[in-house]
């Protein structure tokens, strides 16, 4: 091609070569394309695409119908109720004669959790299993929904007119029966009613304190129970007073006792507890020295202790047959050594025994020190004689009307059957019971009371220490506060709230000077939940004036040094207790702290007794026995109980309900009728018992069947006090692993690279010395974490769902172990518990291992590690291979074998199977589906809530504000939860966390250990060695 100078224009623009063309031609695309957005010129191509995309997405989204059902917003939102934000209200738990000051957590207006009120000097901030479970009792479908007249539903107007009409024309004796009433306003309302109708008031307690009340009346002139302070006691001797289990005010006693048991390098001394009892109780299980005795020896043991002390004090001895017990001599030595810092308590209902106990405490100078007469308990006022007389009067027809105020004597009084038969012939009978129970089923009128969580009330459990109850939910049913009923019937103003408030204005506001304004005073009291009456003068301890010789002669007449035959001791256990809340499935499935059995009561028999009656026990199988005493027979299964005193058997009260509701009816046998009233008081310790093995096979569900710890030092590490004082590492087992470079600590060799914890690192310290095994934490966990109840059959199948369990270990029978020849025989021997075993309780939950074996084996990564040291479980991802549970060395993982919610097969799981029960569910915790694994989360929802709260307030979480449900519930503060990265936190302080040379954090506390340290899963839970205050020679 020849060269050409021809230029071909691309257009007229090039020809003219105007400046605009020159500018455009420099770009890749000479023509203008709307590539970059030009805000001034309105929407461009990209905007168009965005709008288009949004439109399509919105249109398709709008096509999907979101299934929102019944999510009704507040028309007028209450000012304090925010969705998903909990509110807390201080209140008071009152059930029968039991008391606890509580804080109630509500969500969207529903109470979902009850916790202890730390401001209460009476209950100490802890709770018990019954208190924790009480929130579920609120949502019990079996509660009465309306008042009833003669068996048919009625209205309050009808009830009121019927009551006033019938009472107006009664023309005979009218009696109000109740458990101990310790609410001053209730008492006032009752008094108004009693005056109006010239009625009498009879109080009784399921487990009577008559003996103590009567003895105190004679010894000190006051029919009351003084305030005990176990925290001041260095030596405690308990004669069958289960003050850690269910006696009087056990939540506070647990706290006080634990204070004396806590050890650190600053406090290397602890109390010593002697226990003389027949059944193995929680107190006995926690005793340093436990001596099994027969109830028929009890009085003599007390009298002999008096004589031993009297000999030292130079006081005259009382006449009593001598019992030969080295332990008793030792106890006397220790008591005398600690003098006024001693405390002797007895659970006996025999006035004479209690009088001698008073004498001992008097000789020791305990009054004014460990026993305080200025504050007396009002929670036990029952008068056995009056109650027995009432029953007889009703039978004789000399009573025309009876009102049962929140009590159920037909069931829980020994003469209940007699009373029940006579009720029909009464002209007037009324019950305020919340359900159609054994008593209310045969009364004319039922005026159901509110649940305590629906009620206004006050209480004075201890003189001068008050507390308030406030409703945390509007009454669920057409019930009415019983006090309002009484006021209505007494023709008074029925508003009980105003009644309480005006009482408080009169009684307490007027007598204080801190608050000038009544409303301020009231609000403060309501906020705190408790109020202590200021007292100016220190009350003098009343002088002991008991007639010990009379008591001694009575004791000599009743008790003998060497009893024979079989003796039966009735007791209230730590779960179902006196049976008031028997229809609560959480309590029914809570395993007894000692026997680890649930859903039944059973005759506890010693191993030797078992072979005497030809019991053939198997894996949770046993036989039913007929227990007869005083012409009454019950048929219950027998359960072997190490530590049961020879010749004695035990049986729990609170079971055998027939009209408590679907959950409780038919569970176990009623032992109340066996109690003996022949001596004028309730006697739960019965002689002349015959036990006959029927041979009928029966299965008792237990959550733990092994008795001993198999002497495994990597599980329980323990020693005695004197050794600990010499060497704080005593009792510790420190595994060493052999490597090519010699022995190393398990922590020094690892396959793991560890985790980074940039913000928090949650940990827990559990003091085996403080834990008394009461089990309040297990129910707290159940309530907090929506843990299902699986029922007896599934517990028999070993499938209870508890995330937190308390392992109970007995010491092995050392004679058998030492005499065993060969490894096989030794293993077999180790399984056998000692006759009178040492007991250790070990709360066991997910150990939140830093090197978690469960995490590596999950094929779908459903269980993973959080950046805060938590081993977290993603239910939605879980496919249920159960490999994690198998590989868990602590066996704390729980699998949803069935669908436990909305499944009629699990009707006992009331919190998930009816609309009412479901109101108790914690909305922050998923209800788990069938086929997924679950386990303790360290209450991750509480951790998150606490972190959020702190974040919203622009600060770091403060130690103590974030805590797990178990730790919060623990009355003895044995479980401490906190942030290990916060050096000031209690858990870090307890563990004495310190950085070593390599910058690693190490635990400096000699007592702290990991269970199974040698497998190096590196848990975030530490246990503190169990230390018993025993003599070195007896370790």
């Amino acid at each position: 091609m020849s060269e050409t100078k021809k230029t071909y224009w691309k257009g007229l623009e090039q020809l003219t070569n105007n400046p605009e063309f020159v500018k455009n031609s420099e770009g890749e695309f000479p023509e203008f394309l709307p590539i970059s957005g030009d805000e001034e010129n309105g929407p461009n191509r990209r905007d168009f695409l965005k709008v288009m995309g949004f439109g399509v997405a919105a249109a398709s989204l709008a096509a999907c119908e979101a299934p929102v059902r019944k999510a009704i917003p507040y028309l007028n939102k209450p000012v304090d109720v925010d969705p998903s934000v909990p509110n807390y209200y201080a209140s008071t738990f009152i059930s029968g004669s039991d008391y606890c000051s509580v804080v109630v957590k509500t969500r969207e207006g529903r109470p979902i959790k009850v916790e202890g009120n730390t401001m209460s000097p009476v209950s100490g901030g802890g709770t018990s299993a019954q208190v924790e479970a009480s929130v579920l009792s609120l949502y019990d479908e079996q509660r009465l929904q309306t008042p009833m007249i003669n068996g048919s539903a009625s209205t309050w107007d009808e009830v009121d007119s019927a009551v006033t009409k019938q009472l107006g024309s009664l023309g005979g004796r009218l009696v109000v029966v109740s458990n101990s009433v310790f609410s001053p306003s209730t008492q006032k309302a009752l008094d108004l009613f009693l005056t109006k109708y010239n009625a009498e008031h009879v109080q009784y307690d399921q487990v009577s304190f008559h003996g103590m009340l009567a003895a105190n009346e004679k010894s000190f002139g006051t029919r009351a129970i003084p305030f005990y302070d176990f925290s001041k006691a260095k030596t405690i001797v308990s004669f069958d007073a289960d003050f850690l289990g269910g006696w009087l005010n056990h939540t506070l006693f647990n706290k006080q006792f634990a204070e004396t048991r806590r050890l650190s390098d600053k406090k290397k001394d602890m109390s010593r507890l002697y226990s003389f009892e027949s059944n193995l109780s929680l107190t006995g299980a926690n005793a340093d020295y436990r001596t099994p005795i027969r109830p028929s020896q009890e009085g003599l043991f007390v009298a002999n202790l008096y004589n031993l002390i009297a000999a030292k004090a130079g006081a005259p001895a009382i006449s009593a047959a001598k019992v030969d017990s080295p332990r008793l001599t030792m106890a006397a030595e220790d008591l005398w050594k600690s003098k006024a810092s001693s405390l002797v308590v007895s659970g006996s209902n025999d006035e004479a025994v209690q009088a001698i106990v008073n004498g001992i405490n008097n000789l020791l100078g305990a009054y004014g020190e460990t026993i305080d007469w200025s504050a007396t308990y009002n929670t036990r006022k029952g008068d056995d004689a009056k109650m027995a007389k009432l029953v007889n009067d009703v039978s004789k027809g000399s009573v025309t009307g009876v009102i049962f105020y929140n009590c159920n004597p037909v069931y829980d009084h020994a003469m209940g059957a007699q009373l029940g038969e006579a009720l029909g012939s009464l002209k007037f009978s009324l019950s305020t019971s919340d359900r159609l129970d054994e008593t209310s089923a045969s009364v004319g009128i039922i005026a159901p009371d509110h649940h305590y969580l629906e009620s206004w009330n006050d209480a004075e459990p201890v003189k001068g220490h008050l507390s308030l109850s406030q409703p945390t939910i509007s009454n669920l049913f057409n019930t009415r506060q019983a006090q309002s009923s009484f006021l209505t019937w007494a023709d008074e103003e029925a508003d009980y709230f105003e009644f309480v408030k005006s009482n408080w204005a009169e009684w307490y506001f007027a007598n204080q000077s801190e608050q000038a304004d009544l409303q301020m005073f009231w609000d403060q009291c309501l906020h705190d939940g408790v109020y202590t009456v200021p007292s100016e003068e220190v009350a003098e301890s009343p002088v002991f004036a008991g007639d010990l010789n009379a008591a001694a002669s009575s004791v000599s007449g009743t008790y003998s040094a060497d009893g024979s035959g079989t003796e039966l001791i009735l007791y209230a256990n730590a779960s179902v207790s006196n049976g008031i809340q028997a229809n609560n499935p959480w309590l029914q499935e809570m395993s007894d702290p000692i026997t680890k059995a649930c859903w039944d009561n059973y005759l506890t028999v010693s191993p030797s007794y078992a072979s005497e009656i030809g019991l053939n026990p198997g894996d949770m199988t046993t036989q039913k026995v007929n227990v007869s005493v005083g012409g009454k027979t019950v048929s219950v299964p027998a359960l072997i109980q190490p530590g049961q005193a020879r010749g004695t058997v035990g049986l729990a009260l609170g079971y055998g309900r027939t009209k408590a509701g679907k959950v409780a009816n038919g569970v176990g046998a009623n032992a109340y009728p066996m109690a003996d009233y022949s001596k004028g008081y309730q006697n739960l310790k019965l002689v002349g018992v015959t036990v006959e093995n029927t041979g009928e096979s029966y299965r008792v569900a237990q959550t733990q069947t092994s008795q001993t710890v198999m002497q495994r030092g990597n599980v329980i590490q323990e020693t005695v006090l004197s050794k600990y004082q010499d060497n704080p590492y005593e009792g510790r087992e420190m595994p060493q692993i052999y490597t090519s470079e010699g022995f190393k600590k398990p922590g020094a060799i690892t396959l793991w690279s560890g985790h980074e914890y940039p913000n928090h690192h949650w940990g827990m310290a559990i003091d085996l010395n403080s834990c008394t095994g009461c089990g309040a934490c297990t129910i707290a966990c159940q309530a907090e974490n929506n843990i299902p109840v699986v029922g007896k059959q599934e517990v028999l199948n070993r499938r209870e769902m508890t995330w937190l369990r308390i392992d109970r270990y007995y010491s092995s029978n050392t004679d058998l172990v030492e005499n065993a020849v060969g490894a096989l025989a030794k293993n077999a021997a180790m399984e056998v518990a000692a006759d009178n075993p040492e007991v250790t309780f070990q709360p066991m939950m997910c150990q939140q291992c830093n090197n978690a074996p469960c995490e590596t084996v999950c094929p779908v990564a459903a269980t993973t590690h959080s950046s805060e040291g938590l081993n977290q479980m993603t239910y939605n991802r879980c496919i249920g291979t159960r490999y994690c549970a198998n590989n868990c060395p602590y066996k704390v993982r729980r699998f949803n074998w069935f669908k436990y919610h909305d499944n009629s097969e699990f009707a006992d799981n009331t919190s998930m199977n009816n609309d009412l029960g479901k109101m108790v569910l914690n909305p922050d915790v998923t209800v788990r589906a069938r086929g997924v694994m679950e386990k303790c989360t360290f209450c991750v929802q509480r951790v998150q809530a606490g972190k959020l709260q702190a974040k919203r307030e622009g600060r770091r979480p403060v130690d103590g504000e974030i805590t797990s449900a178990c730790s919060k519930a623990c009355p003895s503060e044995a479980i401490v939860f906190g942030d290990l990265k916060n050096k000031e936190s209690r858990v870090a302080q307890l563990l004495k966390l310190q950085s070593n040379d390599e910058g690693e954090v190490e635990v400096g506390e000699p007592r702290a250990y990991h269970v199974l340290e040698e497998i190096r899963v590196d848990p975030n839970v530490w246990y503190f060695t169990k230390i018993r205050n025993k003599e070195k020679t007896e370790a």
Partner: protein, 455 residues
């Protein structure tokens, strides 16, 4: 051409000709099913249906139908799984490893053994799915599939995931290997078929086999390649299954000896099951000339060897437990010996260690009845071995508080029966409609080792 000594005993007896082989094997396929077969399949289907009810209840109500509990999270499910996987080892071992070692006695047994392998692996695979709490999700969540749940991915640290790969690979390779071997025989049946339906079906199954020299050459190459692939799989499958236990922290599971011990055990039980089935097949189908006493004796020798390996492993475990000085480990093994499940341990010891030693006696290992009884005993023993490893290790581990017993429920038994029903139904269908002996391969040895030739 493989040369063979004239001194060696003939592998096919009875003076069979090539045509006889086709006749003997194909006739079973072509004939109407005999009464005995109909009866057998009716029983199998019955068992299958009963089992299916247990499977249904398990799926509908939950794993709670089984006897498992908080302490024993695996029992019959994984016992059965490992047992079936173990049984599924013999077929591929016979066809792949013995092919590579040029053991021509395998030729008349490998078809049935491979079929058994495949059915056993199918039975085994039922359990990992059925034992899940949520199988409707688990069956695909356990696979490394991209998902819509965010950045979730399977956990490659988990031996269960390794199982997924191991079993699926083994199953697919075994299936392909087996099917490729069947193609020339399907073609034979197709060519002999007289009715249209079977002609069409076997025609389709034979993939248009034309019998050309090139086709034969390719066939043999593929067989060799697959044998090479399958050989490591035979060893790897049970090694990985053993990792489920060996990588855990549970005393009695956490054992480095497990891989070889499991593989030996698997071959042991696999050969026992092959023998059990072949002794019946041989009798019913009158295949005495193809599956000779010599075959049975050789397989019995494999059983002695692997049984002895397993026995040594048991004793080694006990020794190492003692030698380790670890309390929990020592307890776990003493508990096996004398704990509540002592009977399971001693059943295992008797069946697996003592009973195969009887095969040292030639009279016993060449006796059909004795062989039949002992092979069944061996498989009972191998079931107990897995039960002992799984249940007795779990039921009493570190913390005595959680010690518990395991009691099987009716559904445990039912699901196990279900796999038996499945297995035997499949095997019976196979033995009726597929050639039970690899005709093509057997024909290749008629000339060199057939009785007529040698005589």
């Amino acid at each position: 051409m493989h040369a063979e000594s004239i001194l060696r005993k003939p592998l096919v007896t009875g003076g069979k000709t090539v045509h006889d082989v086709s006749e003997d094997i194909c006739k079973r396929v072509e004939d109407a099913p005999p009464m005995s077969w109909l009866l057998a399949i009716a029983v199998s289907l019955g068992v299958f249906t009963i089992g299916a009810y247990a499977v249904w209840r398990t799926l509908w109500d939950g794993i709670g139908m089984w006897g498992l509990n908080k302490t024993v999270g695996w029992a019959w499910d994984i016992t059965n799984f490992v047992w079936w996987v173990g049984i599924g080892h013999a077929g591929t071992l016979i066809s792949a490893i013995l092919l590579l070692f040029r053991q021509r006695w395998r030729m008349s047994i490998n078809r049935a053994a491979e079929a058994m392998t495949i059915f056993a692996v199918i039975c085994a695979a039922m359990f990992p799915v059925l034992h899940m709490g949520r199988p409707w999700l688990g069956f695909y969540w356990a696979l490394p599939l991209p998902n819509t749940f965010g950045s979730l991915w399977v956990n490659f640290n988990s031996p269960l995931l390794w199982d997924v790969f191991a079993i699926s690979t083994y199953f697919s390779v075994s299936l392909v290997f087996w099917y490729i071997g069947l193609i020339p025989d399907f073609a034979t049946i197709r060519d002999r078929a007289t009715n249209k339906v079977s002609k069409a079906i076997y025609g389709a199954l034979s993939f248009g086999w034309d019998g050309a020299a090139k086709t034969w050459s390719r066939y043999e190459t593929v067989a060799l390649v697959l044998a090479g692939l399958a050989t490591p799989l035979v060893l790897s499958v049970h090694t990985i299954v053993s990792f489920d236990f060996a990588t855990s922290v549970i005393p009695g599971w956490h054992t480095t000896i497990f891989p070889p011990y499991f593989v030996a055990g698997a071959i042991f039980s696999g050969f026992a099951m092959v023998l059990t089935l072949l002794l019946i097949t041989r009798k019913v189908y009158k295949l005495e000339d193809y599956i000779t006493i010599q075959h049975i004796e050789l397989m019995n020798i494999v059983i002695i060897i692997t049984g002895s390996i397993v026995g040594v492993a048991y004793i080694t475990e006990l020794f190492i437990a003692w030698y380790s000085g670890v309390e929990a480990e020592q307890y776990a093994f003493l508990n096996r010996v004398s704990g509540p499940y002592w009977w399971a341990y001693w059943s295992m010891m008797t069946c697996n260690v003592i009973s195969p030693q009887l095969f040292w006696v030639k009279k016993i290992r060449t006796n059909l009845t004795a062989t039949f009884i002992i092979t069944i005993i061996v498989n009972i023993g191998m079931w107990f071995e897995r039960f002992v490893i799984i249940v007795t290790s779990l039921h009493r581990d570190y913390l005595p508080s959680s010690w518990a017993m395991f009691y099987p429920s009716w559904a445990d038994v039912g699901v196990y029966l279900f796999t038996f029903g499945l297995f035997f139904t499949a095997y019976l269908l196979f033995s009726k409609f597929f050639p039970v002996i690899n005709m093509a391969e057997v024909k290749s040895i008629i000339k060199s080792t057939g009785e007529k030739i040698k005589a």
